[in-house]
Point group: C2
Chain length 169, copies 2
DNA sequence: ACAGCGTAGTTGAAGGCTTGACTATTCCGC
DNA sequence: GCGGAATAGTCAAGCCTTCAACTACGCTGT
């Protein structure tokens, strides 16, 4: 009746819905907490530093990167949304705001009248060029400088394993 | 001038700000992308499933868990904010909404007139009890069922290493 | 006693995200 | 070609988060 650990062990007087639940054992719980906290702190930290030093949030940065890596610096809206793990709606709003900054413009798609192309402008490319070193330094300082080569390899292995399960694409 | 990879290699005509930037090598870049995508997809998925099946977002869930693990199911607002990796303001808003649902109530702190205690109500405890199996099943299905024991151990090790660097506490 | 400072927490406005409805266009089968 | 289903994208309402005040209380030194 006092303290419970809701990842790990069921309460003594477990509710009916809890029957058959595969609770986490202590090792799993520690791994889960470490993963959850570290990913949240790292993402917050990187996003905050990038935003404060460049005025570009990590979400916007990802959009600019995706466009810049494309031959014509242009991409269909849906394709861009998928690439950025973003909903259509969210991306549409974000592109509108990037348009206001003059970093992206919309252009109707030749081959499909329903479609729109998001096109990176020269100003947008310059903004990305200015932000990239800040982003990379953050990733290096807070992630790669902290880990051994073995840990980096394990991180990649775990990430790719999870992606095979999670990523519909 | 065409496609660039902004984590990995500098553009040929790098801007002055890019001088001396420690760009990521191809291995690091793959590790970074795998980590970034997998964490984002996993967190989205868990939050979405929990929200749809129980009406409780992961952020609210964390608050309820933190309170339930405490002897008197009560915690100082700041302490709770720290525990949930949340800003004071964000937590204050969240507790207000949990109060509207009748799951938490506020109570002035005896020992410090400035302080407030967030207290978990019986209704809040019941809501947590109902949501916990859904949460745990999600974590198991999308995380632990996908990984080998070695990978779980490595995940914990990496998480704890990063926490030592990131966590101010 | 009280001035000044630091701490605890709240509030309101501004902006971002999600959901669901909506328009416009294309594809498909007849 | 033409009618219906599917697809691409946008928009508005509501919720959440952030930021910058702001209130209230406690601590310290004189």
């Amino acid at each position: 009746m006092t303290s419970q650990v809701w990842d790990a062990s069921p309460p003594a007087d477990a509710s009916p819905a809890a029957e058959g639940t595969r609770w986490l054992d202590p090792e799993e719980q520690k791994a889960w907490r470490a993963w959850l906290y570290s990913t949240q702190l790292l993402q917050d930290r990187l996003d905050r530093e990038l935003t404060h030093q460049t005025g570009i949030s990590h979400a916007y940065y990802e959009i600019l990167v995706a466009l810049s890596e494309t031959p014509l610096r242009a991409m269909r809206m849906s394709e861009l949304a998928d690439r950025c793990l973003s909903s259509r709606s969210r991306l549409s709003h974000a592109v509108s705001r990037l348009e206001e900054r003059g970093w992206v413009r919309r252009q109707v798609c030749e081959s499909d009248g329903r479609g729109q192309l998001a096109v990176l402008t020269d100003e947008g490319f310059a903004a990305l060029e200015a932000a990239a070193p800040v982003h990379v330094e953050g990733v290096r300082t807070h992630l790669f400088d902290q880990l051994s080569p073995q840990q980096v390899a394990a991180m990649r292995d775990i990430g790719e394993t999870l992606l095979r399960h999670l990523d519909p694409g």
